[in-house]
């Protein structure tokens, strides 16, 4: 009995640095040495794929990077896989940022997608335009929904957007789709000023946003939701283009197993030592 209690006490009082260290090792090792664990595709991702796969050369997509740089790491796979699919479908793409740090993302994105852009002859001005930081606040989003060219006149390098495919855009109804890649900076404003009016929208958001974003899928404001990095990995699998998402799934799997083990250990420690001590 005494021995049991001492084990329970040891489990209840594990130094948190050991937990951090183990999690660090378990997550880092698969990045250095990938294992390629199997992955199932969720209905959410299938729905997201269906919406993007229905795009054609006549469609124009507003590709909104609603993220700061640290959060981008979580949705990077979704951003890259979605952009690749849009390029493959031949749809036009206007890339906009709603956070100053997001302005560094498009060059990295196109550097990664260089091969597929070359293969599909996807050209700047004809097929895509980088608008830069154009949505600093809700007023800018609201105005762009009513008079797009009143708010945006140039691309990120100061070149006029007149004469590009964006001539076809006047207000909220002219976009074929708004794809938001969000850590929650400005996505609510798009819901209020585009989604509510009926512009088709999809979102790839970070994990903590999923519970608050899902209700908007039920209301039909978002046509589909790509959940976190896991969704990005599933999309990579669906479009047969392995990228950072699929490579990260090993880390996810091992990380989640470790947390389940820690939850069991913590409960043994709690019921075997902490609670008994409190009862005494």
């Amino acid at each position: 009995m005494t021995e049991e209690r001492s084990i329970a006490r040891m489990l209840a009082e594990i130094d948190r640095r050991i937990i951090y260290l183990l999690l660090f090792i378990v997550v880092t090792v698969p990045i250095l040495r990938p294992v390629a664990m199997p992955l199932a595709v969720s209905p959410d991702t299938k729905q997201y794929y269906k919406v993007l796969n229905a795009l054609g050369p006549d469609d124009i997509v507003l590709f909104v990077l609603d993220t700061e740089f640290s959060g981008y790491m979580e949705i990077q796979s979704g951003v890259l896989a979605s952009a690749r699919l849009i390029i493959e479908k031949g749809a036009k793409m206007a890339i906009a940022c709603s956070h100053p740090e997001a302005t560094g993302i498009p060059p990295m994105m196109f550097s990664y997608l260089r091969d597929v852009m070359k293969r599909y002859d996807y050209k700047y001005g004809e097929d895509y335009v980088v608008l830069g930081y154009i949505f600093p606040n809700e007023a800018a989003v609201a105005s762009s929904a009513q008079d797009f060219h009143g708010v945006v006149k140039e691309d990120w390098q100061g070149r006029p957007i007149k004469g590009t495919f964006l001539d076809r855009i006047h207000d909220w109804k002219d976009w074929s789709l708004i794809a938001i890649f969000s850590t929650g900076v400005r996505s609510d404003a798009f819901i209020r000023h585009y989604g509510l009016r009926g512009t088709p929208m999809v979102i790839n958001c970070i994990g903590v946003m999923i519970p608050t974003t899902k209700p908007y899928v039920d209301t039909g404001i978002f046509k589909a939701l790509l959940p976190s990095m896991r969704g990005g990995a599933e999309l990579e699998k669906l479009i047969n283009a392995p990228g950072p998402g699929l490579a990260a799934m090993d880390c996810f799997t091992f990380g989640h197993y470790l947390v389940i083990i820690f939850i069991i250990i913590a409960n043994i420690g709690y019921f075997g030592y902490v609670r008994r001590r409190a009862e005494r």
Partner: protein, 235 residues
């Protein structure tokens, strides 16, 4: 790989590992270095991007003849008075206008997106669709009823109402568990994404491993010699 790529990889890996040094459990000058660098970088970038935004939308707009934008520029300059203790009251006016405009724009539509549409999405046919759809709809309908009864504060909960409230309470616990799991997945994804960025392409891997070893060795050495606390700047 260019020399610039190499420098970026080294700085990124070293500063990231310095950030993770907080997991050591003690304040450290390495963490302070990384934190201050990030704040400096973030502030600098935000200032540059926003000034550029003001120039493109404001100054160029005025030059093109859109005189009403001058009002915006004046209001923007008025905000800067906030740094002056004697005239900081001047900043209240533009801030009040900005807040009012924000509330007006948001509240007008939130009643639909956050309230009416959500109620409408809950009131759905319970007997149509395939088995999975029916199951989902029943789950949503029942959960809403059970949880709403939990939040009835003005009457005493007895009999079936009490049962309903108790079931609602347990359903909320399940929901909290799901939210925690999503949050954990998100935080893990942030960490994994950062580590991937530091380890891809493969030539970055030795830099990452070396940064880990150097930062850990520095932490232990500073801790053992008592310099960890002495060299950490005060908050």
């Amino acid at each position: 790989m260019t020399p610039l790529d190499l420098i970026i990889a080294i700085v990124a890996a070293f500063l990231s590992m310095c950030m993770f040094s907080t997991l050591y459990g003690k304040s450290s000058p390495l963490y302070a270095l990384a934190e201050e660098s990030y704040i400096g970088f973030g502030t600098g970038l935000t200032v540059v991007v926003n000034v550029l935004y003001i120039y493109r939308t404001g100054i160029l707009g005025i030059k093109a003849g859109n005189w009403v934008l001058i009002l915006g520029i004046i209001l923007g300059i008025m905000v800067l008075f906030r740094v002056h203790p004697k005239y900081d009251y001047i900043a209240r006016l533009p801030i009040a206008i900005a807040l009012g405009a924000q509330f007006g724009l948001a509240l007008r539509t939130t009643i639909f997106t956050g309230f009416l549409d959500q109620i409408r999405a809950t009131i759905v046919p319970l007997f149509s669709g395939d088995a999975q759809t029916i199951l989902y709809r029943w789950t949503i309908a029942l959960c809403v009823i059970f949880m709403l009864t939990f939040f009835l504060y003005t009457i005493e909960l007895k009999g079936p109402l009490k049962w309903s409230a108790t079931i609602g309470e347990y359903m909320m616990y399940i929901a909290f568990g799901a939210i925690f799991a999503q949050t954990f997945m998100g935080r893990l994804a942030l960490f994994v994404g950062t580590m991937q960025y530091l380890a891809t392409p493969p030539w970055k891997k030795p830099i990452l491993v070396a940064s880990m070893v150097i930062v850990l060795a520095l932490l232990i050495a500073l801790d053992k010699t008592g310099l960890l606390e002495r060299w950490t700047p005060e908050e």
